[in-house]
Subunit: 207 residues, 2 copies
DNA sequence: GTGCGAATCTACACGCATGTAGTAATTGAC
DNA sequence: GTCAATTACTACATGCGTGTAGATTCGCAC
């Protein structure tokens, strides 16, 4: 209170070239998102979080939609990069059980390393609008496609397994693990999840 | 247009006792939800969908929050009833593989029979606010608990399986199947999903 | 058929977020 | 130091949803 100029003009925020300002706005938007969900992700809230007035946001992005689009681009890029890094190069054979474990491990590590990027992707942010859902789904489609490829090239041609459904299942499973890891890390640490996962895979041979 | 009284008073909607009106409002809300998502689930939209004016909604429920609460009560009850009907009575032993298949089959049938109830539960409606998320989660907690019980009483005491994580996994898996069934029924009919599921279970013995 | 209570409607005041037009301050170049 | 371009701010108009107070109509009981 003591710092306010009683009825004067607002103090100007530090100036930035447009590109930097855009990045700063996206960072602020991500913070708002994590704190309050999509329902409160408004131009006003982003401007306030950035420490700037609304016209700045309009000048930088033109509206909430282009801004969200840009935020999704950035997030999707980061998440997809991390996920696709775990997929072996096309056609290279791997030992399937071993790869399933390593890929899950790698993804859980990525999630732990950058939770703020992954929480939106895993559907842990309230109020996701259609645009967001579509983005996430498109990334998952890509991911499932790669998983299916790995399965096909490593299953032996006599396998009767429905590769597409199995790919859906594996991705859904790892997503659930990632959610558990982020939401209840004390009860479900990575090691526990991976051990259980290995146990389930091992059933294929035991019993 | 031809039916409008040029500048007259609005035609009164058919009157209803309070209880009926409440049910009608919930039905309308569910339709709005399925069509437009939570982001458009407003008092105005519900009133319009019902064919009455907003004060009627306020008289019946007092606001959007109590109304949503009531809608969730109804939906949760229906979904939980259907799901818990598939759980064998406590302590009764079952043949595990057989039960896993039958329970999945039963749940997918329930989903197909009443998709409008299940779409919100499966997270297929855009813009779900925290209240909704919490409700769904509490139902899932209950369900996972029962699944874990079944696993425990039928796994043989020498099993090293992490029952809680496996319960999480199974529920997540069936949820994914249900989503596929609702979103892309042509590509993923119930029979295909169940066959793939059986195939995955069968891996436990084959290979 | 006539009341009278219940159910519905109209009308107003408000809050909050959106966009935009015009103004003012900052900052780098000269 | 001065100027001009860039960046940020103020101020206004608007749309849409929320609540609520008070008037109006419906329809059952008698």
């Amino acid at each position: 209170m003591a710092n306010d100029q009683p009825a004067g003009r607002r103090r100007y925020a530090a100036r930035m070239p447009l590109d930097e300002r855009r990045e700063a706005l996206l960072d602020a938007a991500l913070r708002v998102l994590g704190r309050d969900g999509y329902g409160h992700l408004t131009i006003s809230a982003i401007a306030a979080e950035t420490g700037v007035t609304r016209p700045v946001v309009y000048d930088a992005y033109g509206g909430i939609d282009p801004l969200l689009h840009a935020l999704l681009d950035r997030t999707q890029q980061r998440a997809a990069d991390a996920a696709l890094a775990l997929i072996p190069a096309g056609g290279v054979p791997v030992e399937l059980d071993r790869w399933l474990l390593e890929a899950a491990d790698g993804l859980l590590q990525a999630v732990q390393a950058d939770p703020e990027t992954w929480r939106p992707v895993l559907g842990l942010i309230d109020g996701a609008p259609p645009l967001v859902r579509e983005r996430i789904e498109s990334t998952l489609v890509l991911l499932r496609g790669f998983v299916a490829d790995v399965l096909r090239t490593n299953l032996g041609p006599e396998s009767q397994l429905d590769v597409e459904v199995v790919a859906h299942s594996l991705v859904a499973l790892v997503q659930e693990f990632a959610r558990l890891l982020l939401v209840r890390p004390d009860e479900y640490p990575k090691e526990r999840l991976l051990a259980a996962y290995a146990g389930m895979l091992a059933l294929r041979r035991a019993t």
